[in-house]
Symmetry: C2
Subunit: 255 residues, 2 copies
């Protein structure tokens, strides 16, 4: 059964939840850009949804947090107890909401998980992000301009992320948990995999875009909780995940 | 013009603000106990009010924060940049809301002040708090049981706090500001002043209640911003403020 609601309209999600009385809630809705007041409006909307869920008999909920809550210059890999120092409005809003979510769950006994999602790629990603932008450039036979690509990042295939979220909901875990692979690969490896599969290595311009001076060398999840308490590990490898993503973009763009 | 609204009911404050279109907002409403889920519900309600205020032409707002956001074991006096480590649901909710408030104001250009209120006493205070409890016990001729009373706390008379809030609204200051006296007095001095004015010194039992092991020795506001950027200083002294408070409780209780 599908229901539609504008979560940002005050009172609407409360009304929907009062009608549905869900016992389980996976809340992924948010604004997609790192800046903008929408991040704070989504924090407000998320709290209304949380309160309505609890007040209408809700029992188990998983809310989407982000690795953007952490201090990316802290020691790697980042455990759930790593220092938090968000650098963007997105990260600030997620971090503050995490604090309210944890306090609210603790005060009421609601079984809640704050799932800190690291980097994600795969079919359906916004076109301006690293993998789609590279795929689209090379499919069009155009140069792909990137930074130096030595940054290490912890990427999950979106299908793995969906399975991880389902596994977390089904588990007894509560509190914050990192959703990542536990491995960090250089962005140039991801770019290179796309280029090799598309025979477009000659079009890749590593270093054409200057990296920010304060860019973190590595952002990697410590996945001890996910592996030990949920018992989940990713299934996709980068080679097949990128192949699937390229196939999706071929269908999407007709290239 | 007075309007009445249940700020906790999703959609109600948005409707009120859309009707009134206020240009200035002083938001003091909250739950009065340090624990309980109500603190997180008030964070949610405060965000709805903030978003509605901004979306309906609001220009200048002051929200009530708290010294409970700070790490009370940090170096004293506490500046607005002192480390934050709230120890109660009240402090956690206020601290997280402060982060969302600051981010939201910054993202939209809304002129906002987060006023961190320290300790307050005076007429109308909840009866179980230190000054009212002491006054009521001594007015009744009963022993006043207190802790050792050596804790240093920064108290403002409620009339001073009201004037400080009015001065802050009328100023150009934005961001976080401490509202306190800048001085910390031992609780035993406050208790002793009440007792002396009521000729009840023989009824005071300092040390009858054990202080918590982790209780902070001193909590004092650095009021540099308030003094220099707002130009405000308290007018009441403890002697006359306590006298006024005792007179209020005499009227209230008929003692």
């Amino acid at each position: 059964v599908w229901h539609q609601s504008d979560l940002l309209a005050p009172g609407e999600s409360s009304g929907l939840v009062a009608d549905c009385e869900p016992d389980t809630l996976l809340h992924l809705a948010w604004h997609v850009a790192a800046s903008g007041v929408e991040n704070f409006e989504w924090a407000r909307a998320s709290l209304e949804l949380l309160d309505a869920f609890r007040d209408n008999g809700g029992r188990r909920c998983v809310f989407a947090g982000s690795c953007a809550e952490y201090d990316w210059h802290a020691a790697q890999p980042l455990t759930e107890r790593a220092p938090r120092r968000p650098a963007t409005p997105y990260g600030i809003a997620k971090d503050a909401l995490a604090r309210l979510f944890a306090g609210s769950c603790e005060a009421t006994g609601l079984s809640g998980v704050w799932a800190r999602i690291f980097f994600v790629y795969g079919p359906g990603e916004a076109p301006n992000r690293l993998v789609p932008a590279t795929v689209r450039s090379l499919l069009a036979g155009e140069p792909a301009l990137t930074s130096h690509g030595r940054q290490l990042r912890d990427y999950l295939h979106v299908g793995d992320l969906a399975e991880a979220l389902a596994a977390v909901i089904a588990s007894d875990l509560t509190g914050a948990v990192n959703l990542g692979s536990g491995n960090a690969v250089p962005l140039r490896t991801i770019i290179g995999t796309v280029a090799r599969q598309l025979d477009g290595e000659h079009l890749v311009r590593l270093g054409a875009i200057e990296a920010r001076a304060d860019e973190a060398a590595e952002v990697r999840a410590d996945v001890t909780r996910l592996a030990n308490e949920v018992g989940w590990r990713p299934r996709h490898d980068l080679e097949s995940g990128i192949a699937e993503t390229i196939a999706w973009w071929r269908r999407e763009t007709g290239a």
